[in-house]
């Protein structure tokens, strides 16, 4: 017990260092590939504020696929959390201002 208490902070780092990068994949289905591409276009331009977090987006069929990698779970959660907020914004915008609205051409 004493030993683990004393070593808490350094042991934690060692575990994370040894395990390398954490990663998480998110798959978001859309009604069409066109809308998946719109979501991609709206969400890929902003890089993560912290450079140790990497967020890679791609479209597979009608799905938006996002791969997050970060050295720590804490960082991964922050990136994921704000990404979901922005994803929600783009989906809500599509629902309110999307294809139901008359198109130009």
């Amino acid at each position: 017990m004493d030993e683990s208490k004393m070593a808490t902070s350094s042991a934690k780092q060692t575990v994370e260092e040894k395990s390398g990068l954490l990663s998480m994949e998110l798959r978001v289905p859309f009604p069409s590939q066109q809308l998946a591409l719109v979501a991609y276009g709206s969400l890929f331009p902003d890089p993560e504020p912290k450079k140790e977090i990497v967020k890679k987006l791609r479209v597979e069929g009608t799905e938006l696929v996002v791969l997050f990698t970060a050295p720590q779970a804490r960082l991964l959660r922050v990136a994921f959390h704000s990404f979901l907020d922005h994803l929600d914004m783009t989906i809500q915008t599509m629902e309110k201002f999307g294809p139901a609205e008359p198109q130009t051409d």
Binding site: V38, S42, D85, T90, P99, Q103
Partner: protein, 350 residues
Amino acid sequence: MDQQGDKQGAERPKPITVIGFEGSANKLGVGIIRDGEVLSNPRHTYITPPGQGFLPRDTAKHHQAHILDVLQQALDIAKVKPQDIDCVAYTKGPGMGAPLVSTAVVARTVAQLWNKPLLGVNHCIGHIEMGRRVTGAVNPVVLYVSGGNTQVIAYQLKRYRIFGETIDIAVGNCLDRFARVLKISNDPSPGYNIEQMAKKGEKLIDLPYGVKGMDVSFSGILSYIEDAAQTLLDSRQATPEDLCFSLQETVFAMLVEITERAMAHCGSEEVLIVGGVGCNERLQEMMGIMAAERGAKVFATDERYCIDNGAMIAQAGWEMFRTGHTTALEDSWCTQRFRTDEVEVTWRDD
């Protein structure tokens, strides 16, 4: 399509309609401009309780909660359909990261849904161009004063060049944070309430004066008044109104001083005041006294355009778009730091 276009375009150029999204701080606005005419400019402000400032995360949440309604209002008031819009402009920076991105995401989404070009606009350029448009000032020295920015700007050789600026916090930030010390309401804005209280102030308390060449410093003044406030109030040496009055007189005198120096340098006979602090009538009055002595003229706008709004982004966007600017999605990232002089002013020929 081509034939229709020919018929319409034969007489005069087709009007250009731009929608602008602004969300770099606690104001969320969407405005629509058609060839200099403001068709709509609704805004929703995130107001925090007395004693509290606005934090990036909460401000972003506010914008996310209201942006679609504000966008709908902008379209309804303007009686504009998405297909009538030529360009979607949004604030690229400077400002708070999370609120900027929340707003930009929606701008990018509608630009793609409506198949319109996207255009990232510098927030400061938005203030300058809206100020010029509304007041008719041609080539003014610009004092840009808000909660996040304090700059004296003059146009020269295709750039809005910064002649002087704050070396620490913005003047509006100084006022806002002072308001928190006295627990002054943030509704409609701390600065407005300070201005009203200052009108009843009678005693000028001596405060530090922070002009450093062409630059200004407010953090020392803020620290001083934060420390001194309670003692002065407890000992009845000053009322809250006296403190508001003294702070305003001191910081505005500093701003007028550096603006005058920039005018002398440029030989300018116009001053334009923009930014949220710019709707303070005492600042406008003090600037007016200085300008009158120089035979110059002050231009200022009211709270509709001084305070952050969507139309100013649309107006700067309109100028940029008509001179060939657009922003590709991969270049549409937001940035917290974006200097006014980074933008090439392609729309002015003087």
